[in-house]
């Protein structure tokens, strides 16, 4: 027992150092401007923070709404155990996105302006409202866990009645938000590379978000079970991976048809940076996990599931980075490599997220939603 605790503490120190370093870089950004800590330019105004912290962050938080819809709308109760971890990932993910926005926005003190200053023709206006409303929904969903912890049973029972409409609102907002991050780039047909620029961009963003949401929940369940020494309910995750196969196949099919319809296949086989990145994204991030998941022995082991989930996560993150950065470079006639301070702040946000995650896992009943009021009961079945 002593060894893991010690390791935890050492990794905690590393995470705290990253957070402190990132805070220092963020301070420099607030004093000397975005130019002091980023390699962004007038020709390339969006970089790592938008591509990773915001666009990938929102996609990775999609587990919140997919699992909520599965359990609360389709009433697939056997996934109940994933509800709280997924809600936590979603809520935490959105808080991290907002943290990143507060650093990336040039005039963050005006972040609330979309509430009162409207422009319904702006995709960014839609994005802003989705972030605000869905964070609120996630807070209310996650609030259930806090009420549980505080043992406010009456309040918990009352608020539980509001869950189905709240979950439906959450699904709607997520659908809009995930797709709108793709719609953002529809206004730049002259800048985004034809491999990624398609009128289907919003639909592709939404479907890939569902796939990555399921994968994040799976990966998180496996890693958390290992780190916090919870038993793992493997059958649940194997079932979930069947859903991932369906969604991922749909995504791959749409991508292939889209490439064919727009006649940009020749690009895929060209030798540019864009083409290589596109092939990695689709090959390692979509096709390979699909193959691995259909291998029976592989997709039934925790390691196999963790690997395929990690591949899907990597593929979707790469897709968002490709849309926001790789695909925009040539069309913007710009060069961009993130500054080390940009990377540091991104790492700091991830590290901060991990620290908060760990604290919540240790202090709130996340892994045990069936717990009786008297205390956590051992209702977790061991892996088959």
């Amino acid at each position: 027992m002593r060894m893991p605790r010690l390791r935890m503490r050492r990794s905690g120190v590393a995470l705290w150092l990253l957070v402190l370093g990132g805070a220092a870089a963020a301070l420099a950004r607030y004093i000397w401007g975005l130019g002091a800590v980023t390699n962004l330019s007038d020709r390339f105004p969006w970089g790592l923070w938008i591509g990773f912290d915001v666009m990938s962050g929102v996609a990775l938080a999609a587990g919140g709404f997919t699992i909520a819809a599965t359990v609360h709308i389709f009433k697939l109760e056997r996934y109940h155990g994933l509800l709280r971890p997924a809600a936590l990932t979603g809520f935490l993910g959105y808080l991290l996105v907002i943290a990143a926005l507060l650093i990336d926005l040039g005039r963050p003190w005006n972040i609330w302006h979309p509430l009162v200053m409207w422009n319904s023709h702006s995709v960014m206006f839609e994005v802003a409202w989705c972030v605000m409303l869905y964070t609120l929904v996630l807070a209310l969903e996650f609030g259930q866990v806090v009420l549980h912890r505080l043992r406010l049973w009456t309040l918990l029972r009352i608020t539980r009645l509001a869950l189905p409409p709240l979950v439906i609102a959450g699904v709607l907002l997520s659908t809009l938000h995930q797709s709108s991050l793709g719609s953002l780039f529809l206004i730049a047909p002259g800048k985004l590379h034809p491999l990624w620029y398609t009128p289907w961009l919003p639909a592709l963003f939404f479907i890939s978000a569902v796939a990555v949401g399921l994968s994040v929940v799976t990966l998180e369940a496996i890693l958390a079970a290992r780190a916090f020494r919870h038993p793992l309910e493997l059958r649940q995750l194997v079932d979930l991976s069947r859903a991932t196969i369906v969604v991922l196949s749909l995504y791959l099919g749409m991508k292939v048809i889209d490439l064919a319809v727009r006649g940009v296949w020749p690009h895929v086989l060209a030798s540019g940076v864009e083409d290589a990145m596109f092939l990695i994204e689709l090959g390692a991030g979509v096709a390979l996990p699909l193959v691995l998941l259909s291998l029976n022995h592989f997709s039934r082991s925790p390691t196999g599931l963790a690997v395929t989930s990690a591949l899907v996560v990597g593929g979707v993150v790469l897709n968002r980075l490709n849309v926001a950065i790789t695909g925009m470079l040539a069309g913007s006639r710009a060069a961009y490599v993130p500054a080390w301070t940009e990377v540091l702040i991104t790492l700091a946000i991830v590290a901060g997220g991990l620290l908060v995650y760990r604290w919540i896992m240790e202090h709130l009943p996340i892994m045990d939603p069936h717990a009786a009021p008297e205390g956590p009961a051992a209702r977790w079945s061991a892996s088959p």
Binding site: N110, N119, A188, G190
Partner: protein, 296 residues
């Protein structure tokens, strides 16, 4: 492009009435095409321009920016004169053989009729005035820089090295226009290479110049249709591609995002209704199953 009262009512009504209304594609943002054609603009004649940079100096002096020649647009360089070398020399209208090897191009905001930046801005900090200029209100701006991503001409500039930054770009001297004056750059041009006037007059003038000297001018007006039309128009005696003008789609860019945005009210109603119904059905079925189980 803030939501006008009528548009808002239309949108609200459509979202209430559901899918049918929205299935039929709504027209692209109808707001400002009219503004672009009736508002004021500037005609820039590349054949006449001798590259003296008086316009650039006048702009900087008028707006209180540091003097000097810029080699790109910037927060304090709302216009500059770009020198484009020619692969095949062509005698210059005013400079003759001396100016044959290059052309000078005044660069600034194009003041689109239906600006991508204004449609992109979540808080309508950028707007197209009916008089022609696309103006910026820092009081609304949150610094998301989506306008910069959206602009097909890569015009908006950001103050990267300021703690309290703003988006900066040419405003076609909107405040001078309001006082009945013409833009500072146009006033300063000694060669009549810049001409200020109602956009439709300028289009006619551009066509007249091209028709009047077919041997010299290329038969194209840059800005007539680019991005749906711009208030700034160019005529030239060298093809625009050769001078490095970006090839921009003919359709107004806001239409590209509107095709997705316009589906939202219908999507919300349809998806919301579907999910509600599914939830109710599944719940009912589970209740029935529960009863049957109890009876057995």
């Amino acid at each position: 492009m803030p939501l006008s009262r009528r548009e808002f009512l239309h949108l609200a009504a459509a979202s209430g009435l559901g899918v049918v209304v929205l299935g039929a594609s709504r027209p692209a943002p109808a707001s400002s095409n009219a503004a672009g054609t009736t508002g004021m603009g500037v005609l820039i004649d590349i054949a006449r321009c001798i590259g003296c940079r008086s316009c650039e100096a006048a702009c900087k002096a008028y707006h209180g920016f540091p003097a000097g020649e810029s080699d790109d647009l910037g927060p304090q360089a709302w216009t500059y004169v770009k020198v484009a070398p020619l692969t095949t020399p062509k005698p210059h209208l005013n400079l003759g053989a001396d100016g044959a090897s290059r052309r000078s191009i005044k660069v600034q905001c194009m003041h689109c009729a239906d600006p991508a930046c204004a449609s992109a801005c979540p808080v309508a900090a950028l707007r197209k005035a009916p008089q022609g200029p696309v103006t910026y209100d820092p009081g609304r701006c949150l610094g998301c820089r989506y306008c910069m991503v959206a602009c097909p001409f890569q015009v908006p500039r950001f103050e990267w090295h300021k703690a309290l930054p703003e988006i900066r770009k040419c405003n076609m001297c909107a405040e001078r226009q309001a006082a009945g004056k013409i833009p500072a750059c146009v006033e300063a041009c000694p060669m009549e290479a810049l001409q200020f006037g109602p956009r439709d007059h300028l289009l006619a003038e551009a066509a007249r110049r091209i028709a009047g000297d077919r041997a010299r001018y290329v038969p194209a007006i840059y800005g007539a249709e680019e991005a749906g039309g711009t208030s700034i128009l160019y005529v030239s005696d060298v093809p625009f591609e050769e001078l490095g003008f970006p090839a921009v789609v003919r359709e107004p860019l806001p239409a590209f995002t509107w095709r997705a945005l316009g589906k939202i009210p219908g999507l919300v109603v349809a998806l919301g209704a579907t999910l509600t119904v599914v939830e109710a059905i599944v719940r009912r079925r589970m209740a029935v199953q529960g009863e049957e189980g109890a009876r057995r």
